[in-house]
């Protein structure tokens, strides 16, 4: 027989809210402390350049096929929907420049950041989380090697520098995808699509887009490392860490995107 469960009292609810808030601030404090130690750790990056390049290859270069595939479709859909929105109001010759703005300022950095959150942040959390629960982090410490220096610093800076590169390539391939849709499916000539772009092109847009990419690169790597280092339990803990890293990276990307947009534009 199931006994009726009493609803939580106000004090129980408040206590739960308080505990959740405290956990959140403790977590935010730990992530900030890790960020500080990683920033200080840049002075040892030259010594650990082999680790840095390994991570740049793994996190950046190996993400290229996925980023380019997604970039192609992002460009294609932006052009297609741009056509839908402009039709009847704005001449179609402005499709190229409006697509470029949308991609360079927003879609390229944000969507690439979200892909990297899924691929890189989750993979860093899973890798470091597994190392944590199998005592490999303790083993590093016991050898007198700082896990932050050896594991977090190369991953952070590799991702920080590779994400703008990936975003640049994604922007480029997205414009190719958009051009394909415009010329093959929307009946525009190539000249119609490209000719207005130099008129409205502003190099500041590119710089702002890349600034976003730097921040998203930092956020995704930081969350992967922080969540990985704080993993507890066995396989279940690693699974949860992967999800947490991905979810927090996405949230922070979207929040920082909004804040950066307010400052940059």
């Amino acid at each position: 027989m199931n006994l009726p469960v009493a609803p939580p009292t106000i004090s129980q609810t408040l206590a739960k809210v308080g505990r959740t808030a405290l956990d959140f601030f403790a977590e935010a404090g730990a992530a900030t402390m890790l960020l500080f130690r990683i920033l200080v750790g840049i002075k040892g990056l030259w010594k650990d350049r082999k680790l840095f390049f390994e991570q740049a290859l793994r996190l950046g270069f190996n993400s290229l096929p996925l980023v380019l595939l997604v970039g192609t479709f992002v460009g294609a859909v932006t052009a297609w929907q741009g056509n839908y929105q402009l039709k009847g109001y704005v001449p179609l010759q402005y499709l190229g420049s409006s697509t470029l703005k949308a991609i360079v300022i927003e879609l390229g950095p944000v969507l690439t950041g979200l892909i990297i959150a899924g691929r890189v942040s989750a993979s860093i959390a899973a890798e470091l989380g597994t190392m944590k629960v199998t005592e490999q982090i303790d083993a590093l410490e016991s050898l007198g090697i700082s896990p932050i220096r050896y594991l977090a610093v190369p991953r952070f800076y590799a991702n920080l520098l590779m994400l703008p590169v990936l975003v640049t390539l994604a922007d480029f391939i997205a414009m190719m995808g958009a051009s394909f849709v415009a010329t093959v499916l929307l009946g525009m000539t190539s000249a119609m699509f490209w000719n207005q772009i130099p008129v409205f092109f502003d190099v500041y847009d590119v710089i702002a887009g890349l600034a976003k990419a730097f921040v998203f690169g930092a956020v995704t790597a930081l969350m992967g490392c922080h969540v990985g280092f704080s993993t507890r339990g066995g396989a279940e803990g690693v699974g949860l860490a992967t999800i947490r890293a991905f979810v927090w990276s996405c949230i922070l990307i979207l929040m920082s995107d909004y804040i950066l947009a307010m400052f940059l534009f």
Binding site: T134, Q136, D138, E141, S142, G144, I145, S146
Partner: protein, 253 residues
């Protein structure tokens, strides 16, 4: 010499170490025994600062490790080799890279000298020729021995073993015991073995201490341990389900 003074450690509501005191002399081969979950591994990890106590001191060769900077603590850790319960080999690295990592980080040895040292260490644990294997390709016993090779690569003064024979068949476990004894003699190190495997304890140690309810409740030679009339120790070494441990333990949440 390792001195542990009045060490307290809790995890959440669970109090694990409750004023633990222990002194380990240089050259000693000490076994720390106790029930599963009584805090043996927690105590061991305090020796090199892998865990921070709630209160109390850990003094290594006269230096309180909690008064040291991180760089100084890392320096102290280089005097230790630790063999982890799960071996804790770096699974992204080959065996040779696992063993040589500490040397590459801290020594001025050339690549050739490091390779030579890796071969020496593998020979000491009877695993010559597996330099290029990944940990995933090794059996449980081999992993423990590679972990041991990694622990001794930097010629430590202290070797700490966390459950070295757990999960191994009796023959592999005995091979590990022989190895511990041989390395202790060859390398002239201070050895601390945390285990509840009494066969191993009697074979490798010259002093046994028992951790119970967060405190060291017994210290003696293997012969004294066999003869003791301490009820708690007797129940543990005889492996009886009924006795004072099961009726009086207060190590609870």
């Amino acid at each position: 010499m390792i001195e542990v003074q009045n060490l307290y450690k809790s995890f959440g509501d669970k109090s694990v170490l409750r004023g633990t005191n222990l002194t380990i002399d240089k050259g000693e081969s000490l076994a720390i025994i106790g029930q599963s979950g009584c805090g043996k591994s927690v105590l061991l990890k305090h020796f090199i600062g892998l865990l921070q106590p709630d209160s109390g001191d850990v003094i290594i060769e006269g230096e309180n490790i909690w008064n040291l900077s991180q760089a100084q603590l890392y320096k102290i850790r280089q005097k230790f080799g630790i063999v982890f319960q799960s071996a804790a080999l770096f699974d992204s690295m080959m065996v040779a890279e696992n063993i040589s990592l500490g040397l590459r980080e801290h020594s001025s040895m050339s690549g050739g000298e490091i390779d030579k040292r890796v071969k020496e260490c593998l020979a000491m644990v009877n695993l010559s020729g597996i330099e290029n294997l990944k940990p995933a390709e090794l059996s449980g016993g081999m992993k423990k021995r590679v972990g041991l090779a990694r622990a001794i690569a930097m010629k430590p003064d202290y070797v700490l073993y966390d459950e070295p024979t757990t999960g191994l068949d009796p023959i592999s476990a005995d091979a590990i015991n022989d190895l511990i004894i041989r390395l202790n003699e060859q390398l002239d190190v201070t050895t601390v073995v945390v285990t509840h495997d009494m066969v191993s304890v009697y074979k490798v140690s010259d002093r046994i201490v028992m951790l119970h309810d967060g405190e060291i409740i017994f210290s003696g030679t293997p012969a004294e341990t066999r003869e003791t009339d301490n009820g708690i120790v007797r129940q543990f070494i005889e492996g009886r389900a009924e006795g004072p441990i099961t009726t009086t333990s207060t190590l609870t949440s």
